[in-house]
Amino acid sequence: MTRPDNPQPSFRPPLLRRYSAAHLAARGLTQRRWPRSWRDHDLDSRYDVVIIGAGLHGLATAYYLAANHGITNVAVVDKGYMGGGGSGRNTAILRSNYLTPEGVRFYDRSLRLYEDLAAELNYNVMFSRQGHLTLAHNDGALRTMRWRAEVNKVQGIDSEVIDPRQIKELVPHLDTSTDTRYPILGGLYHPPGGTIRHDAVVWGYARAADHLGVQVHQNTEVTGIDVTDGKVTGVETTRGDIATGTVINCTAGWSTIISEMAGVEMPVTTSPLQAAVTEPVKPFLHTVVVSGTLHVYVSQTDRGELVFGASVDPFTSFSTRGSLAFAEGLAGNVLKLMPALSGMRLLRQWAGLCDMTPDYSPIMGPTGVDGFLVDVGWGTYGFKAGPVAGEAMADTVASGRVPEIIADFGLDRFSSGRLVGEKGAAAVGH
């Protein structure tokens, strides 16, 4: 795509000030109000790029378009509020110990971008590298772990299979006795994994993109996409029509609705995923613990709450209501792993929508409709991929070519039969 030829508006509000320790002290002492982190705008009638969905993926794509390629005449539109989709509802686990070489390479790049993200965005994203441990309760799971560890090591990823004694040292609260229904036979330990403050990541990208001239439009629902002669010409929204030649679908759980507007069929179905959080307690758990067999995972936040998650609800739906069946099942399984937690109280539970694909890998790139790109299929695992997906999608738009790092994740893989099977590493682990 060519560089923007639109003239910049003559009046621009003052740019945001950088956050710093001195800034924090001054604000604290004077009690003056903080400046807003991003601006509201009227909707223009034309943009070079329209990104649908102001979740992590849409905002990261917008940021890298502006920061890496100087493309700033960009609108990010969202039907609700920024981060109101999966990006504000996930359990924020980051890791790169996937099963396929394509997957491992891709997620590793994201982890590297996350390492420097706080400095790059001038925003504290609270990346906590506490390590990630997946438990095996049967021979099949242990075999897949050995396979994963080898694939990981070949790609230079720190990942190894450890035995129950080492597991007990790492997480003393785990029940590693051998007379339980699901004894722990081993685990895949991945020290670089961890958790992050998901809202901070979303807000950090939004603030930095805004700073570079990108417009974020909340409460702006896309209701139609105009396609003429196989080419995108515009987007219809509840706040008016926009002319544009480039549209990126970053709407995760709602992405089939948007793709359908452009006449693109996708192998994606939507299912809710639930999570829950307990009251805060003293820090005792310093590793993310996942059990595929028991469909549960747990981590402790910096504030001391335990965050629990499971696998997706067992049927497709766009409803984000939580269920008692989930809370009951979750509690039972958590107690099998850590009986000492029986006195803990759940504070709340919630659900978000997940865009599931047949091979548990995302779909990124062109679609066959000229100018209509997708960055979807993020299922239960897409938060960790936000930075790399944003970087690669921005690259795709700017250069008109699909960069190598996402070349294996195209929509065409379902007609060529070249699937990227990650179910063994992504079904519960996130």
Binding site: T269, T270, S319, P358
Partner: protein
């Protein structure tokens, strides 16, 4: 808990059932094209609204049943003549 009405067993909790998805047609493997077969394998309808779909009463009579459901709210729409 959300309930489905099985024609044999009556209203039952949803976790007794297995979700099979929207009704779709399986092409004849001996007479289909590769493109058509892959479409059958991978492309699923993902309706945002009312859908006719198949469920399996796994923890009950073990029969398949067709349910009409609104995927936005999970409201089950009773079939004609069915009392709920």
């Amino acid at each position: 808990m959300m309930q489905l009405s099985c024609p044999w067993c009556g209203p039952r909790n949803v976790n007794e059932f297995h979700h099979d998805g929207p009704l779709h047609h399986r092409p004849d493997p001996t007479a289909t094209t590769v493109e058509e077969w892959r479409h059958y394998l991978y492309i699923r309808e993902n309706p945002h609204g009312v859908v006719e779909e198949r469920w399996y009463h796994a923890a009950g009579c073990r029969k398949f049943l067709v349910v009409t459901r609104d995927t936005r709210t999970n409201t089950v729409i009773p079939a004609e003549g069915e009392s709920r």
